[in-house]
Each structure stands twice: as C-alpha cells, then as structure tokens.
C-alpha cells in the first residue's frame, strides 16, 4: 500500500477526570489527607488504519470505549495522548480554528437520528451547515442551494423535503438527512457512531446499503461503530474488537468471523445468536462484570473474565501482534497456544 491511509490512529488515549469539586475528592486515610483525582480510562492506546474506500468497524460491549474513540477522532473530545492522522496529517493537538479545514475531510453520522438533528432548523439549513462553515465567499455560497437539492436526491429524499422540519420525517429518513449533512463537504472519511442501532431492522438494511453505495461512488472510508455483529458482518471490511478501552483484536472481516483468536472475540461471536458462520470453536460463556474503567486491572484487561487466564496475564499487558492474514491479536495465548483449552 503506497497510499496514505485516510485515517491512521496511533496509541490513542482518552481519559476523563471525574469526581467533581475539591470537597468530593478529598480523602482521609492512614497516610493523611490527600486529594484524589479519579480518572476514567475510556480509551487506552488504540491504534488502527483505514484506507480509502474501506469500512472499518469497531465492536464491543456498551462502555468499551468504541463511541469514545469515534468522538475523540471527530474531536468532540480532545484526546489525552496519541496521534490521529487524517490523510497523513496529525490533528490530535489541533485547536478549534486549525480543525476547520480538517472538518472538510472528516464528518460524522450520529446514533440517534431524533436527537442529532436540531428540531428547529429546516432540513436545508441542517444539511447546509458543514458547507456554510467551509465556504466564506458569496460566490461559493450561491452554489449551496443547488448542492443541497443534489444531496437530498442522492440520499433518497425529495427536493421538496428541504423546507420541512426534522419531526416530519421517520427515523430512516432522518438518518438520510444526517448522511446528506455529512456528505455535503465531500469528506474522505465518515465516522458513523452506531448509525443504524436506533432504527427498525427493516430500515437498517436500506441505510447500510446507502452507505455502501456512497462508499463505492465517492471512495469514502468509514469508521463504523456498532455493537451488532450481523450489521458489522454485512458492512465492514475490517473489524476491530474493543474491550475496556483496549483494542484486543483487529482483522479483516472474513478472517475474524472465521477464525477469532482472542478469547473475548470468541465469546462475543458465540454469544451472538444470528451469526451462522462455519466455525468449530467451543462456546465461551463469560461470567462476571466488566471491570471499572476507573481502576483498570493489571496486565491484561480481560483477565478477570477470561477462562484461560494464568499468572502471566496479571503481570504483563499483552500487546497487539501479527498472526498473519492481516490479523492482529493482543493475547498471551498466541505465545503459549498449549494453554488454549479449558
């Protein structure tokens, strides 16, 4: 691959300070009075790449940090550490005004099509918003109305919908408005945070197919966040599996679904009811709860629920390693495959 990836994320970390005011954080213990700063480790060193016209899906349980990855890349949050390269340019430390040209290359689609459109703006104003931020001259702005009509038609809406308000549309139509808004500046990358999980199943396929068609037409790259494995199987080229803010496995879709290596991925796939791939792996049923992101376990983040965990897992944090076919896994079982049996 000689092309620069559209999105190249390296060791992305996102930590949130919680705990409120000084009095809430003041703790008295044996060593005396001290000020605690509790930190939620939402994303801990995630790396991946997306090439042009590729769809990369991030999957995982609720609270595993996949949405936070999306929002950090879209710069709703300021990343704590790491690099976010958009077409080769690291934008992780960019300030607000520096980001404006980057926003022309990267747009976002949101999960809830009811909440992500301003109820008091007409569709034409919603769709025009990214364009108006990017165009400043009157000449450029004069072309905006025609562009909006073209966009609405492209995503399967009528041009007479432009004068309506969001509440006059169904969930699927609203998501089409959201897609038109993201497309308006012809970005290379679209970050889609669970774009279909709030929709009826019958509508989901329509939206997914629209997204795929747009990918083929414009060479779009997607970062696609989802917890629904059947959706991911339908749309993704690459799948990254996240657990507790770590990426534990990253592989091309078919490789991952056929030959999951990380115990968590295996548990996730065997827990999904509808996926019927030819797999002959024993079922892994997880027990217990996801540990708190306030207090990460030592070593492997998954060891508290992993049926294979042994003492090495508590001492040493596994790193992503290549196991061939583009698949990378963060698990000590790769080094010691003889332990892979219950």
């Amino acid at each position: 691959m000689t092309d620069t990836p559209v999105l190249d994320v390296r060791d992305l970390e996102m930590h949130f300070s919680v705990g409120g005011g000084i009095l809430d954080r003041l703790k008295l213990d044996r060593s005396g009075l001290r000020l605690e700063t509790p930190v939620v480790h939402a994303v801990n060193g995630v790396s991946f790449k997306i090439n042009r016209a590729e769809i990369m899906a991030l999957v995982g349980e609720s609270g595993c940090g996949k949405s936070t990855v999306a929002k950090t890349i879209a710069r709703i949050y300021q990343p704590t550490a790491g690099e976010v390269r958009i077409e080769g340019q690291d934008v992780a430390s960019f300030g607000f005004s520096d980001l404006l040209p980057v926003r022309a290359k990267m747009q976002m689609i949101f999960q809830d099509p009811y909440a992500s459109l301003n109820p008091r703006q007409r569709v034409r104003d919603i769709v025009a918003e990214p364009l108006l931020e990017q165009t400043k001259t009157a000449n450029e702005r004069a072309e905006v109305p025609a562009r909006i009509e073209q966009l609405l038609t492209r995503v399967g809406l009528n041009t007479e919908h432009a004068g309506r308000y969001p509440h006059q549309f169904s969930g699927g139509q609203r998501q089409r408005i959201g897609i038109a808004r993201a497309l308006s500046v012809t970005p290379g990358l679209i970050i889609a945070d669970e774009p279909v999980s709030a929709l009826d199943v019958s509508i989901q396929a329509q939206i997914l197919n629209l997204m795929k068609d747009l990918r083929d037409e414009f060479g779009l790259a997607y970062l696609f966040i989802s917890h629904d494995l059947s959706v991911v199987h339908h749309i993704a080229d690459w799948v990254g599996v996240m657990y507790l803010g770590f990426m534990v496995e990253n592989a091309p879709r078919d490789v991952l679904f056929a030959r999951p290596r990380h115990p968590y991925t295996r548990a996730l796939l065997s827990a999904a009811p509808s996926i019927k791939t030819k797999r002959d792996i024993e079922e892994i049923v997880l027990s217990g709860e996801v540990p708190s992101a306030l207090d990460l376990p030592s070593g492997c983040p998954f060891r508290t629920r992993c049926p294979f965990a042994w003492d090495r897992c508590a001492q040493q944090r596994p790193h992503m390693q290549d196991v061939g076919d583009g698949q990378t896994v963060a698990c000590h079982l790769i080094d010691e495959p003889e332990r892979d049996s219950i």
């Binding site: 879209a74 949101f110 703006q121 918003e129 931020e133 509440h167 808004r181």
Partner: protein
C-alpha cells in the same frame, strides 16, 4: 417573522387566546391612533358655553367619559394613556427579553466561572425589591418615562435569564449540539443558530408575562405619583382621581383607567397562557 406568525396561529387556536388577541389588537390600534382621534389634548381644560370650567361633568355627548376636577376630558386622557401603557409595556418587555435571553444563553452555555459571575449578578437583582427600587431611582433622577422603562428593563430580565439558563443547560447536552460541533460550528454559531431557536417559545412566553408586568408596574408608579409629570398614563389618571378625593362623586373618573388596566393586563396574560399551553406539552407538535 416566522416565529411571530406561528405565535399568532398558536394563540388563535384557543378561545381565550382569540378573545385576548382581539382585545390586545384593539388596544394596540388605540395606542397608535389614540392621540390623533382624541377630541381634546390630555391636559386641555374644557369650558362650557358660558365659558365656565367644566369641573366633574358626568358623561355626556360632548365628553363621553365625563371630565376631571380640573375640567379635562377623560376619554382623551384614556386615549393618550393607552399609548403610554403600550409604549412602556412593549419596550420594557422587549428589552427585558433581549437582556435576559443573552444572559441566560451565555451563562447556561459556557457554564463554569462565566455562569457563576452572571448568576451572582442575577441573584443580587433577584434580591432587589422591584417597586421601591424604581421609585427610589426615579426620585434620584428626573421623573422621565424613559427612566421608568430603563429601570424596569434593568431589573426585570433577572427571571428570564434564570429560566433561559436552565433550558440552555439541558439543550447544550443534546446530541445535535455535538453534531453542530463536528460540522465546524463555533460557540457563536452554536449559541445563536442552534440553541437560540429552541429557546424562542420560552422567550415569547417571557415577553408576554414581562409585558403584563411592565404595564402593571407603570400603572402602579403612576398611581403612586412618581410617574412622568408630562405624560398621561392610566396610573396617573387614577392618582389624580385619588388625590382630588372626588372618587365617590365622580365614579366615571376612576372606572375607565382601572378597567382598562385590568382588561389589557388580563388579555396579555391569557395570550401568554394560551401560547404556553400549546407549546409546553410537546414542543415538537407546533409549527
């Protein structure tokens, strides 16, 4: 213009709103044309055929609402007073909402230290006794109608700011604000293009209640004798009647301003209520 049109449409739906709109519209027309159709000047003294001052004449064909102890035509005074009431009410309501809206928007959106500073200012104003403050201010400065309007604006925005701030604090957490952020919108864009339109129904309700409150307050100031001596208001007509101690001998002097204040304020309140009833249950259903 859009918000104004939908405001009329919504209010028109309820019976009380429709009646109130008609009454308010009538008062508005009177306020505009009143001084031109008034048969006499507000302080003009009227004499009878014999050249004698017409003191406390009861209602007649020449003086529909009678005259005052100084021989002034009450109908004419009422018409001039309508202009005062509307001018003071509308200007104060508008100023109140513009100040309150911006304070609320900025405090609620930015939060933190900015919010703390703006809200402490609001708290101080909330602790201010409204009428005494204005009376003291008027005695310190000249008793001018513009001073009254400015003084009322200065104090009345406090409650609007509080309500708007609460609403903004909930709105800024909504996903469409994050969505606007990813399109590249800056704080000003988000405040005035994304959030402010969602505050508009609240602002309109605030305007009506501020309008009613401003009319009552102006009448109170006039009745207490602190009003602008050069401007006739319904409150000052009541003050004159009271001060002359002729209220029992000349009921036609007291009832017109009293009833007019009551009807106007009630109609404004009902307009606000009618609008609020429609927009409150589900904001989305309007339009």
């Amino acid at each position: 213009m859009n918000i104004f049109k939908s405001f009329i449409q919504i209010t028109w739906k309820s019976t009380s709103g429709r009646i109130s709109l008609i009454i308010f519209g009538f008062c508005l027309v009177l306020a505009v044309v009143g001084p031109h159709i008034a048969p006499y000047g507000p302080n003009e003294r009227c004499y009878d055929a014999a050249g004698k001052l017409l003191r406390l004449a009861s209602p007649s064909w020449d003086h529909w609402l009678g005259t005052t102890v100084l021989g002034r035509d009450i109908l004419s005074q009422m018409l001039w007073g309508a202009q005062t009431a509307m001018l003071v009410g509308l200007l104060t309501a508008l100023g109140t909402v513009v100040i309150g809206l911006n304070f609320g928007l900025i405090a609620g959106y930015f939060g933190g230290r900015i919010d703390a500073i703006l809200m402490r200012i609001t708290d101080i104003l909330l602790g201010l006794p409204f009428l005494p403050f204005i009376i003291v201010l008027l005695s310190l400065t000249d008793r001018n109608i513009w001073t009254i309007i400015l003084a009322m604006m200065f104090v009345m925005w406090r409650s609007t700011a509080r309500i708007v701030r609460a609403e903004v604090m909930s709105l800024r957490q909504r996903q469409f604000i994050a969505a606007a952020r990813t399109t590249g919108a800056n704080d000003t864009d988000i405040l005035y293009r994304e959030i402010a339109p969602n505050i508009m129904p609240l602002a309109v309700t605030s305007i009506t209640f501020a309008l009613a409150w401003a009319i009552i307050t102006e009448a109170s100031i006039g009745f207490l004798g602190f009003g602008d001596p050069d401007v006739v208001s319904w409150g000052s007509i009541l003050y004159d009647a009271y001060a002359s101690q002729m209220m029992y001998r000349a009921p036609w002097w007291v009832f017109p301003p009293g009833i007019a204040i009551m009807i106007l304020v009630t109609s404004v309140y009902f307009i606000g209520r009618a609008y609020e009833e429609v927009i409150n249950p589900r904001l989305q259903e309007r339009m």
